[in-house]
Amino acid sequence: MEQIHLTCIRCPRGCQLDVKIEGGGVLSVVGNACKRGETYAQAEATNPLRVATSSVPVTGSKLARMVSVKTAGDIPKAKVLEAVESLRGVTVEAPIAIGDVIVRDAAGTGVDFIATRRA
């Protein structure tokens, strides 16, 4: 059994949650003031997900020097740093539209980096 500590982000109260995990499942959640804390702990303790964002240089654009990008969906929290690092050295050429794929399969997550601005 493993015990982890989380801060609930469902409201500004920020309940300090103690979560007991075993075999990939949540055994118990302590410290939550409401039901939402338990749901948050379930997801965050077993499979925390994030959208990663960054920006990459663009050439040939009158609008911008950098194009902002995001993962097209959630990726595992543990992969965020690696995903953003995979953008190093990437330069794109204008024109770029919102939603254009910038890097495929970021850090082996199966999720693409897409542009979030035009350039």
Binding site: I9, P12, T53, M66, S68, K70, T116, R117
Partner: protein, 421 residues
């Protein structure tokens, strides 16, 4: 003087765009948005992280995407834009003076003006940190622009003073770009940022948040070499003997935002000493008739969705004013903030002119648990709503019903306060 506009909006960020769209949709056919940058969207363009638009679009967008959606609506017709143009003066009779490289100086008359200039960051100069003036000290928003828009890294070894949302966001951003963020120091015993940002920007990367700590000295003559951080007592005074040196080349400041009201002052608009933005009535009109305000120029928001809502109301009201159908005010009831509530927006209400339901937004002055937000009409308690948590970093709101105000004859004052639950 150029031909005038019915509505002139100063600022093409989220507030200006939402105001313009709402004014057009309310039937106004003569709208100009003046923006100093070369593109629309304002500060959202450098806020490349996600989390915008949960209320407006029911999905999490990045700042540029949220801006692009509003720009698309605004560009759909009926609205003129002047980019790369800086407004330098507003007169009380609603003549706006602006300058640009292409047009030189222009004067534009408007029937109604909407202030949507946003806010600016509190600079180092307002903090009284002793030491030299070395390179490597940036406001968090400046660093955000350098990294996300210009493509420069301001430094590699970073300390952040102040736990406002931009500071938290930049702690993560600098880390993702390969810098090391040693800590975020916060003078207050609580963070001024959103809880989700503390978890996802600091906890996710193991960056310590030092509450009740501040920078007492900056070392380095040409470039920052270290900052000295000390714990502070209950009154914010550094405690001798608690100093710790953090070697670093960069200090980011995230120590508060101030509504941008140089222009408002030139028009003679009355400002609130608490919000530092204009005092407004129930239609978001300032002390100068026909000049409205919305967004961060009015009071600093934490969610852009509320900026868009507020600005849309200002746009509709300005459209009614420009068309001559906004009834004159018959009398204003002042809203007073007491006992834990710092301010309200608006600050006055005309019960006859207010909409059926009016949102009053406010902030509290400390972290409170299990309190009630109470609203009194001349000493009579009208609302008493329990809140399990209230924090200065999170804007709150209460709805007032027109019926309640109209049913209270000779209403002199509406008081907002926190009470035991």
């Amino acid at each position: 003087m150029t031909n005038g506009y019915d509505i002139l909006i100063i600022g093409g960020g989220p507030a200006g765009l939402a105001a313009a769209i709402a004014a057009r949709d309310a039937g106004c056919a003569s709208i100009l948005v003046v923006e100093r940058d070369c593109e629309l969207g304002g500060i959202l363009n450098q806020c490349i992280h996600n989390g915008f638009g949960l209320i407006t679009f029911d999905e999490e967008l990045t700042g540029p995407e949220y801006a692009a959606r509003f720009e698309e609506l605004a560009r759909a017709g009926g609205i003129d834009f002047m980019l790369d143009t800086m407004v330098i003066d507003i007169s009380a009779d609603k003549v706006v003076t602006a300058v640009s490289r292409t047009s030189g100086m222009v004067r534009i008359r408007a029937k109604a003006i909407i202030l949507a200039m946003g806010c600016r960051e509190r600079p180092r100069g307002s903090l009284n940190i002793p030491g030299y003036r070395p390179a490597g000290i940036y406001s968090a928003g400046t660093a955000q622009r350098l990294v996300n828009i210009e493509g420069f890294m301001p430094g590699r070894e970073v300390v952040i003073l102040g736990s406002g949302d931009i500071g938290l966001i930049m702690a993560r951003r600098m880390t993702l770009e390969g810098a090391h963020v040693a800590c975020v120091a916060e003078l207050m015993p609580y963070s001024g940022g959103l809880k989700r940002n503390i978890v996802q920007c600091l906890d996710d990367f193991g960056i310590p948040l030092l509450l009740s700590h501040t920078v007492v000295r900056i070392e380095g003559k040409k470039r920052v070499e270290a900052v000295i951080i000390a714990e502070v007592d209950g009154r914010g005074k550094p405690i001798p003997g608690t100093e710790t040196a953090y070697p670093c080349d960069t200090l980011l400041l995230s120590v508060g935002l101030i509504p941008e009201n140089e222009l408002s002052l030139s028009a003679g608009i009355g400002l609130s000493p608490v919000t530092r933005g204009p005092v407004v009535n129930e239609v978001l009109e300032t002390s100068v008739e026909g000049i409205f305000a919305a967004g961060n120029v009015l009071h600093v928001h934490d969610l852009v969705d509320y900026v868009s809502q507020e600005a849309a109301a200002a746009g509709r009201n300005a459209a009614a004013y420009a068309r001559g159908v906004l009834a004159g005010s018959a009398g204003a009831v002042p809203l007073t903030a007491e006992d834990g509530i710092r301010y309200t927006v608006p600050q006055t209400i005309d019960p006859v002119r207010m909409p059926e339901e009016l949102i009053v937004r406010f902030r509290v002055d400390n972290v409170y648990e299990d309190r009630s937000v109470s609203v009194y009409f001349d000493g009579k308690r009208m609302q008493h709503r329990k809140r399990s948590i209230l924090a200065p970093g999170e804007m709150e709101q209460v709805k007032l019903k027109k019926g309640d105000l109209v049913a209270s004859p000779d209403l002199k004052e509406i008081v907002f306060k926190l009470e035991e639950a």
